[in-house]
């Protein structure tokens, strides 16, 4: 869908604030994908997030994907400094932020250049004309000005004098040029809000909160926002505005949430439910730091956040807190996971509950820190010395991070084991509307510390779960010692007995595989009794896979989708479900890690669908790949 096909006057002259007067017509659209792009300092992330909030309030289903530059402050106007934010808002259910934008807002030539390849023919480009100065055009690596050299002829270009119009609107404020320049994002937001019939009241409220302490900046931002809105209404450039009707959504109370915020809330909810303090030991790392930031603000919930000296201290301090009876967490990304491996092994061996959250990013090594990947699965499975199995859970959407974080804590304390929660950079920063759960209906989490010295032994196990007692310091009569050395069954005393060692290793492994009893039956989207091909996915690929499978099914193809939350142990019925299909395709953002597990565990000749570009699958990529496989 190119948008807006009706709008004539490509590259129309802007007519300033005094333009047309009569109310303009609305045109209806099912879905629109907008990408906001600019210099890191242009505030495009903020504009995008606020446009998202407005769209959510307007009742659309939404999905977003921010795109951060690798550099914090790359030289202004360069490709390296371009920051983006993509939003898909729709009157239908949406699963992804969209393959390609219908509308690209480019605040400078670099933003245009960095994003143009993704724009389909006839796509809409909105630019700040004044930003296309000779110097800026050159800095972006253009040989000539793309606004005048006809290289954009296959698109619909709207040149708006954003800077000039913002300056004019803020003339009376007496603010300096720099401060005025920083209000351009609100002008653009106002203009787009008009164009897509979004109410701006929520943004006004948000600005009031953000600039509480600086009334002159609040005033300027409000003026810029309104000026942009009015400009949309009065300019002759836009012949009509667009309306995206509310989507049919499950009724209830919603808020917009990013994966990292949902992860933090899931942990707080779990700690409240079991009545124990929460402790996070963490070292700042992209893209995990926001969980630390979120949790640091919840001190009145009994949440301890400890910014450790390094990744190892992050996990180690959490182990200490777990020993003392807290709900213990550490959060990190791939490089930090490597560093934590030894300490996680200690938690496995001493059977202390904790959750390790790996918010995966593109590797290897430092890789692309701001870009998502799913290549830590086998590390989560096997990345420790010795036999040290750990339950693994993966979240599939930003809001799902809440449930997964909660579930990870529930399993950790029930089975007295570290649990790994996998999310990724896409989930972490992406956002979607979240139907707020009824707090009273969350699954119960029961924790009973050992207290009776009669017959107490630190490794005497629960007959069903095989978990050992959680005996915390301060409990009279339960004084005991634990450690990393191989230890005797029941007593936990240091033991080098060969048979005892095998018994303990096998018992711990049985404890983890026993977690299958917690996993609900695997549901198949599509042909529940089997069919041609099933796409098996996990983690953040959920949206793209579901959308691709849906579109293919709409065309009558026998394609289904199974998406996993539990990766270790795998669901007991998974093998049987997969065998109902002639072909099993495992889609993941790595070189085939779940694929290896599936092939090894079930001896199924599954095929891989892989992408390692630090970018999510596009729906069309999946459709093409699946179609080829159906034909082949």
């Amino acid at each position: 869908m190119a948008l807006p096909p009706e709008a004539a006057g490509h590259a129309a002259e802007s007519s300033g604030l005094g333009g047309g007067a009569a109310a303009k017509p609305h045109a209806r659209r099912d879905s629109v994908v907008i990408r906001f792009a600019g210099d890191s300092g242009d505030g495009m992330q903020l504009a995008g997030m606020q446009f998202t909030a407005e769209s959510a309030l307007a009742g659309n289903d939404i999905a977003t994907l921010p795109d951060f530059p690798a550099e914090i402050r790359a030289p202004a106007g360069t490709i390296a400094g371009v920051s983006g934010f993509q939003l898909n808002f729709s009157s239908r259910e949406v699963f992804t932020a969209g393959d390609e934008p219908n509308v690209l807002v480019a605040m400078n030539p670099a933003a245009l250049k960095a994003n143009l390849d993704d724009l389909p023919p006839n796509g809409v480009i909105i630019v700040d004309r004044e930003a296309f100065s000779e110097a800026n055009v050159k800095r972006a690596g253009y040989a000539s000005n793309p606004l005048t050299d006809h290289s954009l002829d296959k698109f619909q270009v709207f040149q708006v004098d954003v800077t000039k119009l913002t300056t004019a609107a803020l003339h009376s404020t007496g603010l300096n040029n720099r401060a005025v320049f920083r209000c351009r994002n609100m002008f653009v937001l106002g203009m787009l809000s008009w164009l897509f019939q979004r109410p701006i009241e929520s943004t006004e409220r948000w600005l009031e909160g953000r600039f509480k302490k600086t009334p002159e900046l609040l005033n300027a931002n409000l003026m810029a926002l309104k000026a942009g809105f009015n400009y949309g209404d009065t300019t002759e450039m836009f012949a009509s505005s667009y309306e995206v009707q509310p989507a049919k959504i499950v009724p209830g109370l919603y808020r917009n949430i990013t994966g990292n915020a949902a992860t933090a809330l899931g942990f707080v909810a779990a700690s409240v439910k079991c009545g124990l303090p929460l402790f996070l030991g963490s070292y700042p790392i992209t893209p995990a730091s926001d969980v630390l930031h979120e949790l640091a603000a919840f001190k009145n919930f009994g949440v301890y956040t400890f910014q450790a000296e390094d990744e190892i201290a992050g996990v180690s301090s959490a182990i200490g807190a777990a020993f003392g009876g807290a709900i213990a967490l550490t959060t990190t990304s791939g490089p930090g996971m490597n560093l934590k491996a030894e300490a996680i092994g200690l938690a496995v061996k001493t059977e202390l509950p904790m959750v390790i959250t790996d918010i995966q990013r593109a590797g290897p090594s430092t890789g692309m820190p701001t870009k998502p990947e799913q290549a830590d699965l086998l590390m989560a499975m096997y990345g420790r010395h010795g036999e040290s199995p750990i339950p693994i859970i993966a979240a599939s959407t930003p809001a799902d991070c809440f449930e997964c974080a909660y579930e990870a804590v529930r399993l950790a304390v029930k089975y007295m084991t570290p649990v790994i929660l996998l999310t990724d950079g896409q989930l972490a920063n992406g956002a979607e509307p979240w139907l707020l759960p009824d707090v009273s209906k969350l699954a119960p989490i029961k924790v009973e510390f050992a207290s009776n010295p009669d017959g107490f032994l630190p490794y005497k196990r629960d007959p069903e779960t095989l978990s050992r007692p959680w005996a915390v310091p301060g409990t009279p009569g339960l004084e005991h010692r634990i450690g990393g050395l191989s230890s005797e069954d029941q007593t936990g005393n240091v033991s080098y007995s060969p048979a005892n060692n095998e018994l303990m290793v096998r018992t711990r492994a049985r404890k983890i595989t026993g977690i299958v009893r917690e996993i609900p039956p695997t549901s198949i989207f599509g042909d529940v009794n089997g069919g041609e091909l099933v796409v098996l996915g996990w983690g953040s690929t959920y949206g793209s896979v579901r959308e691709a499978v849906k579109q293919l099914r709409d065309k009558g193809k026998s394609v289904s989708h199974i998406h996993l939350r539990y990766l270790n142990p795998l669901p007991a019925d998974l093998g049987g479900q997969l065998r109902k299909f002639k072909k099993v395709m495992v889609a993941e953002m790595n070189m085939g890690q779940l694929l290896k597990l599936v092939r090894a565990d079930y001896l199924i000749d599954a095929i891989g669908c892989n992408k390692i570009q630090g970018r999510p699958f596009k729906v069309n990529e999946l459709i093409n790949r699946i179609s080829r496989s159906l034909e082949g």
Binding site: P277, F298, A313, G320, G325, L346, P437, E479
Partner: protein
Amino acid sequence: MATALTRKDFVSDQEVRWCPGCGDYAILAQVQKIMPEFGIPRENVVFISGIGCSSRFPYYMNTYGFHTIHGRAPAIATGLKVTRPDLDVWVVTGDGDGLSIGGNHLIHALRRNIDLNILLFNNQIYGLTKGQYSPTSEVGKVTKSSPMGSVDFPFNPITIALGANATFVARSVDVEQKHLGDTLKRAHSHRGASFVEILQNCNIFNDGAFNDVTDKAIKADHQLVLEHGKPLIFGKNRDKGVRMSGNRPEVVTLGNGVTEADLIVHDETNLALAFMLGNLQAPLPTPIGVFYATSRPTYDAAMNAQMAEARAKQGEGNLADLLKRGDTWTVN
């Protein structure tokens, strides 16, 4: 109706496995001896260690204990102490565990001033791995991993601790039982991170490393016992002292016009003096005792105070309200 505990109450049922004659035995005995004096119930005491000979320590204490991984004990103890300020937490480490693989955690625990009692057994060798030079071994030391002599310049645990802004820094010796006991009691009564370097003889791989301060025949001439407010006097006949010559310390013999009034008077609250004493080297004597003691808020108390403040200001957190924060909307 708590009955007073005795030394025996702190002895676990585990067989002690250090080499016969190891200095660790004397330290263990002294710790077990002084524990009852604190009047703290056993269940509130936790010993945490890393890896190395010294780190076997928790197994032998009949308290809560955690034998963890190499170098990480201060970090693990931090997580415990912050969330459980009610507990009496001890860290037992060695020169390899605390200053090599775990150096980072040690200095950060010290600068944060976590209320821990940190005992670093310094035997200037890797014992458990059978005798490689350690980060406190002297240059030139011949070991299995340094057949031509080590070219590795050593750390000085006292000045490392001072440099990390520790609030309590002391040194004692395994065989100086009374001095060791008194020093540990001082360390325990200090609020904040207390760091005690204990010179410990590894009779298997580095026997006699501290002979000058332990050999009865000569130790009086090499050991300088620091006492707050007292002049720095040592020697068999208590006739030697340390005074300033310009801005450098020197050893002088009392008499012939040199009196106690010329000597440096120890002041535990003087950081510059502590650094100078920490750096004393032969031919100057080896100081033992408390180098430095000062008071600074502890991290664990400060963090718990913030939590209490947040609760007082915002009220006890309400989960349903928390989830509803920010812009919400209702879909009908």
